[in-house]
Each structure stands twice: as structure tokens, then as C-alpha cells.
Amino acid sequence: MSAAATHTVTPLTRPGGSPFHRIGWHCRHNPKRELWLAWWTTVVFYQLFFVVFFVITRTQPPPNPGWDTPRVVQWFHNHHNGLLIGFAIMFVITGMTAASNALIAYSMRRMSVSPAFGYSYLVLYSLSAVPGMLLLCLVLTVGALRPDRDPELIQWLYDFAFLSFSGTMGVFLIGSLVWMAAILIDKHGVLPKWFGYLNLCNALTEVVVAPAWIFHRGVFAWNGLICWWINMVVFGIYTGAFIVLLRQMIQREDFGTGPLPDLATTKELDRSGDAAVAR
């Protein structure tokens, strides 16, 4: 790939005109279209995830583990339609997580570190979707499927769902540490060091959530102030940060094998390139 990238490429004029025309042009000619496709898929996925979990199914913020069995059955009854429809949507779109993982693995490939980091991350996060999210969707769907099921079984399904969702810690813990190590050792400056440290914060949230497996009430329960609310704030900041940083990485990408140029340089080159062609 490096041999092909050393010869100069004439800058392409970006067209004006209607948004559809421009998007169509980018889909056909932009050399970074694959990266942008992955990035937009990630953004769309997280938006849909938020809508499904927080609005349609209302499984986040999570309900109380301390409820007694009749109250849990009542919760299923109240959320019946939302659960079935919302999770059906998840059963169609979960594959989009592959794009997010691919883009992050790509960021590690662009770094000066061994490809082992990217592959490790890809494997870890690819298998994280099943226990860490799909189990909840699947189990709550089965719970809502037959409202006349034995209440004890419904409570078991309720516990299984929420504990598997919040309590699947290892994959995200190790995955974040892998990305952190790659960023801190990287000499190409693909992602800033502060984001490497933010990965550590994200990994630590996976440790902080461990008491959720022990407590039914209070701040350390799966819906508690410490195990859910503070953790969600950290996770939200983390996700927002990496979406923005990956966007910048794509903008800076020069398909070379050395350090990534920083954003100011890239924007100048783009502007001077456009000006040269316009003349």
C-alpha cells in the first residue's frame, strides 16, 4: 500500500449543488468513503441505541432490582409493547456495531504499534455484543412473550437480563485497556494521549460496576447512583469523545505509514489544493 501512496494524487474538486448531488459524488469519488461509511454507521447506531433503550423499551435507566415478584411482573406488563418492538429493532441493527469496532481497529492499525492490538480489540468487542447487549434483548423479549408465565420465572429472566447487561465487564475492561495501551505507545499521534487515559477511566467503570452482582438496593445496585448513573456519565463522555476523535482521524488520514498530520495542516492543504485547481 505504501508504494502506491507515494505518487502524488491530483486533488479532486468537490462539487457544489444540492445535498443529494454532493452525497452521491462523495459516495462515488471520495477516497475516504469507506471510513466515512463506518463512521456514519457508528453515529447512527448510537442514536438508535439511545432511542431504543431509553425511549421505546425504557430499560435504561434500569428498573429496581429490589422489587418483589408481583412488582416485576407489573413492570413487564407496563412495558410489554415497548419491549417487543424496541428489541425487534435491535435484532435488525446490532450488526452495525461491526462498523464501530472496525473503525477503532483501523485506528490502531494506523498507529505505530503492532497489528496485534487492533486484532485483539476486534475479537474482544465482536464477541462482547452477545453477552453484553443481545442477551438482555433476547431474555426480556422471552419474558414479555408470555405474560401468564410463572412469576418466579419472570423474575429470573428479569435478573438474568439486567445483570448480564450491566455485569458483563471483562470484555469492555480488557478491550479498553488494549486501546489505551496502543494509544499511549503510539508514535504516529493518531489519537491524543488524554483519550488514552480516558480509556482507563472507562475500564475503571467496569470495575466499579462489580458490586451490582452483590447488592439489591442502594447506590451499588444495578440501577444505583454509583453503579449506573455515575458510570453512565463516564461512558457517555467516553463515547462522545471517541466519535469526535475518530472523525478528526478520518479528516487527517493521509493513507501513509508515518505520523498522521494534524488537523490544521490537513485543512490548509485541502484549501490550497482547491485553490490550485480553481485557478
Partner: protein, 208 residues
């Protein structure tokens, strides 16, 4: 043996301090990577969140918290605090020595820091075992839930600190690798570990 500082020291800038190897202009404003300071700030914010929750819960049930707190031995807490403060002192000496180019001395101070940290680690584990033997586990009372959680999460930061000290020592060992920036970054992290402990000590042991 010839003075290592004379043989391998990088150029000094006008102030007589080592020019930052990474050429980072902002290194003159904060020691070490500014990214580490951002991390420190963020972690402190999160811990402040935990402390606020603890204080709020404590205000709700003052008697039960007080009763449980009496089970803690203040002396062990004081000793732990002194040990960590000493480790902060030794890591600061290490940074100063590295700045002056005295890398052997810096290495010694870094190892001293590790020793202090191990003392803290051992004492913490002993204290936990003691409390559990007395019947105070993580689920036995609300205070002890917070106790084990806060000291546990701090302990984890301490373990990460060992990795950081390892990086610092690795940097000091070979002239090819000495990055003042990285050493200062490591020291910043270590000071944070100490700082967080002082807060935890104040909250759990002292405030009654």
C-alpha cells in the same frame, strides 16, 4: 565511575532546566504531559462524586455510620497516610534528580517510592483481613460497604501506580530513553494517588 550526568545529559535551556525531549511547548506551563493533568482532573471529579454520595448517605444515618467507624483503627490510617506522603516526597526527589541529570540518584528515589508503596499495600491488605475476621465484610453494614469500595478503588489506582513507576524506572535506566516529560507525567499520577488517599483518610477515618 564517571558522573552519568556529565556523560549523558541532554542540552540545558536558558533556565538551566532540561529542555523537554518531546519539544512540547506547553511543558513549560505544567510539568509532564498536560493530558495526564486532564486525566487527574477527571478522576478527581469522579471521586468527588463518590465522596458526595458517601457524605449524603452518612448524613442520613449518622449513628450507624459512627458506630461502624469506631471499628476502624485510626493509628493504621495515620501510618498509611505518612507512608504515602513519604512516597510522594521520594518521587518528587526523583523528578528533581532527573532534572539535574543525576539519574542514579533518581533511580534510587524511584525504587524507594516503590518500597513505600509496597508497605502501604501490605498494610492495607492486613487491615482488610483484620476487619473481615472481626465480621465486618462488604455486606455487613453500609459504612463498611463504602469503606471497602473506596479503599478498594484506591487500591486499584495504587496498583496502576506500580505500572507507572515501572515506566518511570524503565525510562531512568537507559540514557537512550530518558524523557523528562514522561518521568514528570508519572510523578503527577503518583501524587494524585497520594492526594486521593488523604481525602479518603479524612472522610473514612477522621470525620466522625
Amino acid at each position: 565511575m564517571t558522573d552519568l550526568a556529565g556523560a549523558g545529559s541532554p542540552p540545558h535551556d536558558v533556565d538551566g532546566r532540561l529542555a523537554a525531549k518531546d519539544g512540547d511547548k506547553t511543558a513549560k506551563f505544567v510539568p509532564g504531559q498536560p493530558d495526564m493533568w486532564a486525566f487527574v482532573l477527571f478522576e478527581t471529579l469522579i471521586f468527588t462524586g463518590y465522596f458526595s454520595v458517601y457524605l449524603f448517605q452518612r448524613a442520613q444515618h449518622p449513628e450507624s455510620f459512627l458506630h461502624a467507624q469506631n471499628q476502624l483503627d485510626l493509628r493504621i490510617g495515620v501510618v498509611n497516610t505518612i507512608v504515602l506522603l513519604a512516597s510522594s516526597w521520594s518521587v518528587a526527589r526523583c523528578v528533581e534528580a532527573a532534572r539535574a541529570g543525576a539519574f542514579r540518584q533518581a533511580s534510587r528515589n524511584a525504587f524507594l517510592t516503590v518500597v513505600f508503596a509496597l508497605v502501604f499495600l501490605a498494610s492495607k491488605v492486613c487491615e482488610w483481613v483484620l476487619q473481615i475476621h472481626r465480621g465486618n465484610g462488604i455486606t455487613s453494614s453500609e459504612f463498611f460497604t463504602y469503606y471497602f469500595f473506596l479503599t478498594g478503588i484506591h487500591f486499584l489506582h495504587l496498583l496502576i501506580g506500580f505500572v507507572v513507576l515501572g515506566v518511570v524506572i524503565y525510562q531512568l535506566r537507559s540514557p537512550a530513553r530518558r524523557s523528562q516529560n514522561l518521568i514528570e507525567t508519572g510523578a503527577t499520577y503518583w501524587h494524585t494517588v497520594d492526594f486521593l488517599w488523604v481525602l479518603i483518610f479524612a472522610l473514612l477515618y477522621v470525620v466522625r
